[in-house]
Every structure is written in structure tokens, then in C-alpha cells.
């Protein structure tokens, strides 16, 4: 049994995958195979399931590399002022994302960026006292946020949480940082589902939650939404803790990974190229190229 528990402890399978593995295992168990082959076949099955869902090219980069790029883009994006330079940044990022399993997402964000840029340019010809100030700030904020959101959501989609965990541990971060961070990335998408469920329940009970009501009664909104959400959080924590502990989340030992998690030459190359590219953009911004206006109606 030692072999089996060790292989299960190796990684945290947080992809609802363990369920199917368990089913396979139970079916195999009914046939009364010798225990040794059963363990072997289970390990093979787990490996197969993990390797099955692979990302390609840029999406297969080390999570640390993606995080470094994300931080760099976040630093640069707010200080790029020229319209051409920002467009170059967004287009390059879209290409980078399109290479790695994210064609649709890249196209969507690119179209969104262009539409917002045009609308923002249109705004110069309209002047409503208060609203136009608010809208211009809004537009610029969105334009600055598009590259970061594009990169961030793509990173979340193309990173397995277990790879992230392994790579964070290789950085020698203590458990007190890795576990909350990984849980958080895992939980942010779930929060939206929980929120929708709470809204549905409120609708059923006749306490419908409209935008107007949310503004008029902020305190009751907080109470109606936050308290059930917190209750759910406590529940989810119990479940996650149970499932994580059984899969060896608490272990302090060095983890081994089936996927290739290593900061080798492609990662170095991408990081250096990224830094060079962003530095070049910052430099171009100060030359005359930064002053060209393209969004004109």
C-alpha cells in the first residue's frame, strides 16, 4: 500500500480528476485483480489523465515565467502614454496568447480594445459637464487594464494549480504563502458562481437585488450578500481542507511533478525578450512615435 499512498501524495489533483480515478479503481477492484497490478494500473491511469490535458507552446511555459511577465506588463502598462505604443503592446500580447491555446480570447480582447479606443476618441467631441470627465477617466482606465486583464486571465486559464504549487515551492516560498495563494486562485472563479446562486435564492424569496436597491441600501446589501457568502466560504473551507489533506497538501517534503516544471532556456529567453520589448516600448514612447494619434474619428 505504501507505493500507492506515495503516488497519490505526490501531487494535489484538484481537477475533479480524482473522482474518475476512484471510479476506475473501484471497477478494477471488483474484478479481484492482484493488489500489486491494481496499484500499478491506478498509477498509470493517474499519469495518463494528467498528461492527457497538456497545453502547448507558450501556454506550457513555467508559471513563474508567466507571473514575471504579468508583473512587468503591469508596471509598464500604466506608464505608456502613446497610442501607437499601447496598440503595439496589445497586439504583441494578443499574438503571444494566440500561440498558446488562446486564439479566441486574444481576438476578443483585441476587438474590445479597438472599440473602446474609438469610443474614447469620440468622447472628445462630446462635452457634458460632469459625465464627460467621468467617462474619459473610465475609458483610459479600461484601456490601461486591457493588457493586464488579457494576460492575467489567460495565465489563470492555462496554469494548472498543481504546477503553480510545485513551482512556488521550488522558489522556496513557505507553505504559509503557497497554500493560501493557490487556494485563492482556485476560489476566485467560484465566487462568481456563489454570488449568482445567492442572487437566485433572493429572487425566489422575493428580495430581488437590483442595481438601484444596492445603491440605496448599502448596509442591507452587505448583510444580504456578504453574510451568506461568508457562510458558504466556511463550508467550502471545510470541504477543501478535507480533500486537500487527504491528497497530501500539508506535506513539507519536496514534491515531484509529472509535468515538466522547470525554469530552463525557453523561460529565460521569453523573460529576457519580454524585458527588452517592454524597455523598447518605453523608449519609443519618449520619441516622436509616441505622439502619433491614430484613434481619430
Amino acid at each position: 500500500m505504501y507505493q500507492l499512498s506515495n503516488s497519490v501524495k505526490l501531487r494535489m489533483y484538484d481537477r475533479h480528476m480524482i473522482l474518475s480515478v476512484d471510479c476506475l479503481n473501484m471497477k478494477a477492484g471488483l474484478k479481484r485483480q492482484p493488489r500489486l497490478t491494481l496499484e500499478d494500473s491506478m498509477e498509470e491511469n493517474i499519469k495518463k489523465l494528467i498528461i492527457q490535458k497538456q497545453f502547448k507552446r507558450t501556454a506550457a511555459l513555467d508559471p513563474r515565467c508567466k507571473a514575471a511577465l504579468l508583473i512587468l506588463i503591469g508596471c509598464v502598462s500604466y506608464f505608456l502614454n502613446g497610442e501607437v505604443v499601447s496598440l503595439i503592446l496589445v497586439v504583441t500580447l494578443a499574438l503571444f496568447i494566440a500561440i498558446g491555446n488562446g486564439v479566441r480570447w486574444a481576438v476578443k480582447m483585441l476587438v474590445f480594445y479597438i472599440i473602446v479606443a474609438y469610443l474614447n476618441a469620440l468622447l472628445r467631441y462630446v462635452s457634458i459637464p460632469v459625465l464627460s470627465v467621468i467617462m474619459s477617466v473610465f475609458g483610459v482606465t479600461i484601456l490601461k487594464l486591457v493588457p493586464i486583464a488579457m494576460m492575467g486571465i489567460w495565465t489563470l486559464r492555462t496554469t494548472h494549480m498543481d504546477d503553480l504549487m510545485v513551482s512556488l515551492q521550488r522558489m522556496r516560498l513557505p507553505q504559509s504563502v503557497t497554500i493560501p495563494l493557490v487556494v485563492m486562485f482556485r476560489y476566485i472563479p467560484t465566487l462568481r458562481i456563489e454570488y449568482r446562486m445567492i442572487c437566485n435564492t433572493m429572487d425566489i424569496r422575493g428580495i430581488s437585488d437590483t442595481f438601484w436597491k444596492r445603491i440605496i441600501h448599502p448596509i442591507s446589501t452587505v448583510e444580504y450578500i456578504l453574510v451568506p457568502l461568508l457562510m458558504r466560504c466556511l463550508k467550502v473551507t471545510d470541504e477543501l481542507a478535507a480533500s486537500g489533506t487527504t491528497r497530501g497538501l500539508e506535506l513539507e517534503e519536496k514534491r515531484y511533478a509529472l509535468n515538466h516544471v522547470r525554469f530552463s532556456w525557453p523561460e529565460y529567453a521569453v523573460t529576457i525578450l519580454g524585458i527588452a520589448f517592454l524597455a523598447a516600448l518605453l523608449f519609443l514612447d519618449y520619441t516622436s512615435i509616441g505622439e502619433i494619434i491614430i484613434w481619430r474619428v
Partner: protein
């Protein structure tokens, strides 16, 4: 009683920090768009709903290190979203100070929870608004002018961060923390302690 944090506590911290961060992002985005005056006071407003979450977290995990971990993770997320580098630094320093000055001395009680949270939110207000605006005003204004942000917004932003305003902003942050902690403990008593989910002194 075991005073060391275990995996379950880490998971709870992760889940609740995710919630706090989402609340913070929504409120800060809405308020920074609405105008310069509201933009400056967003840490104070953020502290009020987050107070409920933080009080629950502290009541559920009354151990050393909760603030520091929470601040560190929020800081990492701010860094990933492209926040100014002073925000993560302020969050981490604030977390460590709150942990080892206040929670370290005595048992975690309702009072020390409120005091710790108040100081934490004051430091956050300093790191998020006062620090960047006083150190990097020229770069900030230059970036805003080039981006076609309306002149009124820039003028308002400068006016509201000069003179005595930094003190007012930090004070508002402290007040927001106090109010958030108070409301949070009321909510805690009304919903969570009654239901038997947490027990606090």
C-alpha cells in the same frame, strides 16, 4: 490549544482573502472612476465591508500570523494586477506590525482585533494614496495629462492631496477601519456566534 497554523487555517485565509480582494477591487474601481474626491477616500470605504470578513477570519483563526499572511497575499495580487509597488510594501509591513505588536502581546480578544484592523487599514490608506501621490506627483500628473484625462480631474487630484489632506486621508482610513471592525463584530454576534460557527471572547 494549538497555536500553530495548519493547512485548514491556510485554506480559510486563502478563501477569505480572495473575497476581500474582490470587494476591494470592485469598490476601488467604482470610486476612482467617480471622481478625485471619492478616489482619495477609497481605502476608508473598502475597510468597512472588509471589516466583516476580517473579523470573521480573526475570530475563526485566533493565531499569530494571520494578518501577515493576509497582507502578503493581497500584496502579491496587487502586484500581479499592476498596482504601484508601495501598496504591497505597505500591506506587508502593516500586516507584520499588526501581528507582532498587537496580537503578539496578549490573547486575541474582540478589542485587540478592532485595534489591529484599524491600524492595518490606516497603513493601507497611506500606502495606497498618500505615498504614491506625494513621492511621484509629477510622474503621475504627466501620465494623466498625456492620456487625455480631463484637466478638471487632474486639478482636483492635485488639490485634494496637497496640504493637510494626507493626514485627513490616513485619519479617514483609520476611521473606516474602526467602523468596519465595529460593524463586523456586530455582524459576527448577530449571525455567526448565534449559529455556533465561531466562538469569540
Amino acid at each position: 490549544m494549538n497555536k500553530k497554523l495548519n493547512a485548514k487555517d491556510f485554506i480559510l485565509i486563502g478563501v477569505l482573502t480572495a473575497l476581500m480582494w474582490i470587494i476591494c477591487m470592485i469598490i476601488s474601481t467604482v470610486m476612482s472612476i467617480a471622481g478625485p474626491v471619492t478616489n482619495v477616500f477609497y481605502p476608508a470605504v473598502v475597510a468597512i465591508p472588509n471589516g466583516i470578513v476580517m473579523m470573521l477570519l480573526l475570530a475563526k483563526v485566533p493565531k499569530k500570523g494571520v494578518f501577515a499572511i493576509c497582507g502578503t497575499i493581497q500584496g502579491i495580487l496587487f502586484l500581479l494586477v499592476g498596482g504601484f509597488w508601495l501598496i504591497p510594501v505597505a500591506l506587508i509591513i502593516g500586516g507584520v506590525i499588526c501581528d507582532f505588536l498587537i496580537m503578539g502581546i496578549s490573547e486575541v480578544t474582540m478589542k485587540s482585533m478592532i485595534i489591529a484592523y484599524t491600524i492595518f487599514s490606516g497603513i493601507f490608506a497611506f500606502g495606497a494614496i498618500v505615498g504614491p501621490m506625494s513621492f511621484l506627483r509629477n510622474a503621475f500628473v504627466g501620465a494623466m495629462e498625456k492620456n487625455n484625462i480631463a484637466q478638471e480631474y487632474i486639478d482636483g487630484m492635485i488639490k485634494i492631496t496637497s496640504g493637510f489632506m494626507p493626514v485627513v486621508i490616513v485619519a479617514a482610513g483609520l476611521l473606516g477601519g474602526l467602523l468596519g471592525g465595529y460593524i463586523g463584530q456586530k455582524t459576527l454576534k448577530k449571525h455567526f456566534i448565534k449559529a455556533g460557527l465561531v466562538s469569540a471572547k
